[in-house]
Amino acid sequence: MSDAFYNGIAATASDLITRFGRDVTFVAKRTTEPASEPWKANTGGETTIALKGAFAPPNTVRQFGVTSLGLGTEFENMLQKSEQIIIVNSGDNDMRDYHVARDGGIDWGIIGIQQLKPGNVGILSFVLVRR
């Protein structure tokens, strides 16, 4: 299949997530490591991106298989451990760079990510979160 084919699917996914999702701010990990004591917290400003995200309870997503998306960062028992799954149109963003999903004043810790990206087209990601 060509990228053009998947671009159409990505557009549909984006449209659905935009219509049924809400604004979620993803906060990236700070990247400036203390040189002399690298085990301490990184410093630097907070980098964020704003995406639309549709929230789904884990059991509803399981019906069509959270582990079947393809690229994933965590598999083991993550579905059971997560409180919510945020379905986002992540596009070209590498969601592994982000560790917090900020939703209306609640900071959800990101504990796992599944990404659907056939070829070069990022269609959507499941972001597994827990407070």
Binding site: E37, P38, W39, N42
Partner: protein, 139 residues
């Protein structure tokens, strides 16, 4: 009077000992509760944990003059490429062990420093280095 360490001060002192020994190897370190991960190629790397264990009051006295003994284990998990024998892993483990064995960082004492060959873990072979530590907090 023996040197006094808080948990955080002792943690920093122990990791500084390891860092100064490990840095010349050029291998990466994944620090506890910082970055969860592993090397994406076959380069040797280490994962570091400090696990406090016991704590007991070792002397009587007024506030500011009581000694509390702290102890625990520093755990360094060394991962070297699997299928290549143990030379690389042992060399890295030796660096980590020597960071603590026979060392006294101020008032932190290390005992029973040893290595433990764990076995294959994915594309790596894991060797653990354990160093039991003890120090005092006076408060």
């Amino acid at each position: 009077m023996p040197q006094s360490y808080t948990y955080s001060e002792a943690y920093d002192a122990m990791l500084a000992l390891f860092k100064s020994a490990w840095d010349p190897t050029g291998h990466r370190v994944f620090w506890d509760n910082k970055e969860k991960g592993r090397e994406t190629d076959t380069s040797t790397y280490a994962v570091v944990q400090v696990n406090h264990g016991g704590a007991n009051q070792a002397s009587l006295g007024g506030t500011g003059n009581r000694t509390f003994k702290r102890n625990g284990v520093v755990l360094i998990m060394i991962y070297a490429q699997a299928g290549e024998g143990l030379s690389e892993g042992h060399a890295a483990a030796k660096v980590a062990a020597d960071a603590f064995e026979g060392q006294a960082s101020g008032g932190i004492w290390f005992r029973n420093v040893r290595i433990n060959e764990i076995g294959r873990e994915g594309s790596f072979y894991q060797i653990n280095v354990l160093a039991e530590f003890e120090y005092d907090e006076i408060k």
